[in-house]
Amino acid sequence: MAALRLAFTIGLIGLACATAATVAADRTLTFVACPVYRDTNAGRKSGCWLATQESSGLRYDITRGRTKPQLGHEVLVEGRRERVTRPNEPNLQDTPCGGIPLSPLVVSVLDAQCPSFMLPAEGFPGRRFVLDPKVVLAPADVPEALPPPPYRARTWSIEFTFGSDFLQYQYSEIILDEIGRYIRASHPHAVEVTGYAVTEPRIVSERVLAEKRELARSRAEIVAVALRRLGATDAMLRVSFRENPTPLPGPDELAEPSRRRVDIRLSY
């Protein structure tokens, strides 16, 4: 029994080292924390979300993720420092929220519960909400512009937060809408939908995190439902699901979150 425990511990340490190496390589901070809401009041959607990384004691501003936290639930934070000027002594008083801003940033709401804490503004201004026009669909009554030929095989990816198959608002529908227009314009021979889940465990903030295998399937299926409603026929659709893909390439992408995705490939 003791030998088993030792082997498990060594395994965990190995995993931790591997994870730490990944973090060092791409400067991504990954930690689990209990989020705190700071009620800055600079108009609608202006509140701040903060999370303290236990290992460093640093407080980060995790407001700018696509998905915001839920008070009372732990969050998995994956992000990079917006700018690193004084990494050891960041002047938090100069920040909008009182935390070191992370961007790019992916926040995943975990099932694990934790205390709900709200802070007053305490002099922090927060950020005025500005809607990025790139994440807003045209109203339904705007005539649809279909992409012109030629049509070549093409792949899109839709990312998900950890443990979730929820199609995130002001992100997923932009991609799905574009795919739908391609499908209606080009009538592809095949629409291949491949869902992925990252089931290999990794240790983050002393927790072992791994997605359930079924998530790969449910992610693929929800995207297939969406594509059917956008014009894909059953004859076109090929739905499959796999585990533990490689990250997507690209300097701005966060590697680990990009593995939690669905790929949609149109071929002719």
């Binding site: 809401y37 009041n41 959607k45 202006s46 979300w49 008070l71 339904a140 929800i222 409603r229």
Partner: protein, 515 residues
């Protein structure tokens, strides 16, 4: 209505002003009389009975709690003889018009319900045992058997359990349902209850108005942000479902709504002919209803305002509020100039109050928390926003997306105490996402949208409804829990700890009264 906030900063009434005010009121009264008079000039009764044979006018106005409600039919006057909206089509003596009265903004108010009880000793088809009583098995002659309709204005809605798809297919629910309290007796009834041969869940809801339906059936965007999916497509029309019909979205189209209502509320056996169905939908689709005058503020089109049903009928539906499309812009002109040379001080003061209400509705932010359908999206919990975050469709205050949201009006711990309503305990099965904020065990007197989908995540969600013509159709919320418009504001203030001042509450109440 005595408790309604109608006091505006009261001006000093000089004899001259008093006389001018009296003349205005008289003129308004005469105008109402003219609108609701028959061809011989006699005032028409406000109650529209089934099979009355009357002509439904192109435009008709009635006094209501705070002024005048006006209903207009874009197709011109309608001969109601044999018309499916006005004709008894089932076996309980009701027609659609029975519960969708023009004087009540095409719904039916609790004041009207009580008046019908008094006038008919409870014999009006309005009180049909199927849903106009607390339970059909109760003695129907006693007022106590109709207490929920008489006191809250709610009708019994019997939903099949387990839920079924609109096509009758089986849905395996993610939760069990247990009756903890059954003051009507209907949920434990051997014939109508949850354990009967045809298991049903009886919930009690206000009737939604038949009017302004282009706003209810249209959609602003192709996607439903609450689940990330494109809106589903109606195979018969190729159009997408708006998802905004009825409190629990159990009908996706006006035809499905009509079939549901005919079978349940009118107790019709067998379908309506295709031509009659089309006639019914055509009529409903051309009805517009809105408040048109206020007792204090005067005409709602005065001084550049665009209240009343005409601007509503002319405008484009499903427009999301935003720059260039501000919510309740109908009353923006009153922000700068609440009156003209002929306006009384009382009119100016009231209109200024409405204008302040518009600004509050748009701009007063507060922390919205623990509301499934809102905070369960990626906005976070809590999120700071204003009333028009959810009431975001211009002209009606509905949601441009399917508007199923849990405000807490039907669920513990947020719902007002309602010992007269049933209380259910819903327990979510393992392996399914729980109600996002209420957990795996939820106590509710109306599971709402979850009775349509069978999903735990949808427990307590109720579709946001049209806010026009409110003053004519008290009480409010799906369960009639707010007796007055002020009661609606008080609920929100309490639920979200908004911290509205007395003046704020009065201004918001006055805004809602002129919609």
């Amino acid at each position: 209505m005595a408790s309604e906030a109608r006091d505006v900063t009261t001006p000093v009434l000089t004899p001259l002003r008093c006389m001018a005010f009296a003349l205005t009121v008289t003129a308004l009264a005469l105008a109402r009389l003219a609108h609701s008079a028959d061809s011989a000039g006699r005032p028409a009764p406000s109650w529209w009975a089934a099979d009355s044979g009357r002509v439904f006018p192109q435009r008709v106005s009635y006094p209501d709690a705070t002024g005048t409600v006006t209903v207009t039919h874009l197709g011109g006057p309608v001969d109601t003889r044999g018309h499916p909206f006005f004709t008894v089509l089932g076996r309980n003596g009701r027609a659609c018009i029975t519960c969708h009265q023009p004087a009540d903004g095409m719904s039916v108010s609790v004041d009207t319900i009580q008046a019908r009880w008094r006038a008919t000793a409870g014999k009006d088809p309005l009180f049909a045992s199927v849903d106009g009583s607390n339970c059909p098995s109760l003695p129907q002659g006693a007022a106590s058997s109709h207490s929920l309709l008489l006191e809250r204005g709610v009708f019994r809605i019997a939903r099949p359990w387990p839920p079924r798809t609109p096509d009758g297919g089986a849905i395996t629910p993610q939760f069990t349902i247990e009756v903890l309290r059954d003051p009507t007796g209907c949920n434990l009834d051997p014939i109508y209850g949850l354990k009967s041969a045809r298991p049903m869940v009886s919930v009690f809801r206000r009737p939604r108005p038949v009017g302004n339906l282009k706003y209810v059936t249209s959609y602003g965007y192709l996607f439903e942000p609450k689940n990330g999916l494109p809106l589903p497509i109606d195979p018969t029309t190729g159009l997408r479902y708006s998802g905004n019909l009825l409190a629990d979205q159990r009908a996706r189209t006006l035809e499905e709504q009509a079939r549901d209502a005919l079978a349940s509320h009118l107790q019709r056996e067998g379908p309506l002919s295709a031509s009659a169905m089309q006639r019914l939908i055509d009529f409903e689709s051309k009805i517009y209803v809105a408040q048109s005058a206020d007792r204090i503020g005067g005409s709602l089109t005065a001084s550049g305002a665009q209240g009343g049903p005409d601007a509503l009928a002319a405008a484009k539906p499903a427009v999301l509020k935003g720059p260039g499309h501000l919510q309740w812009a109908e009353f923006d002109s009153w922000m700068q100039a609440p009156g003209d040379a002929g306006s009384t001080e009382a009119e100016r003061a009231f209109r200024a109050s409405v204008a302040r209400g518009v600004k509050l509705f748009r701009d007063r932010t507060f922390l919205i928390s623990d509301s499934a359908g809102l905070n369960s999206m990626n906005f976070g919990n809590p999120t700071r926003d204003s009333c028009n975050f959810c009431h975001n469709m211009t002209r009606t205050g509905m949601d441009v997306a399917p508007g199923q949201v849990d405000l807490g009006t039907t669920n513990e711990p947020f719902a007002d105490p309602a010992p007269d309503l049933p209380l259910f305990k819903l327990t979510c099965a393992p392996g399914f996402p729980p109600q996002p904020f209420l957990g795996t065990v939820v106590y509710t007197h109306d599971p709402g949208f979850a009775l349509t989908t069978g999903k735990c995540a949808d427990i307590g969600k109720i579709t946001i409804q049209d806010m026009r013509g409110l003053a004519a159709r008290a009480p409010y919320f799906s369960n009639g829990s707010a007796r007055t418009l002020r009661g609606v504001i008080d609920y929100y203030d309490r639920r979200y700890s908004i911290g509205l001042s007395e003046q704020d509450k009065e201004d918001l109440t006055n805004l809602m009264s002129v919609l």
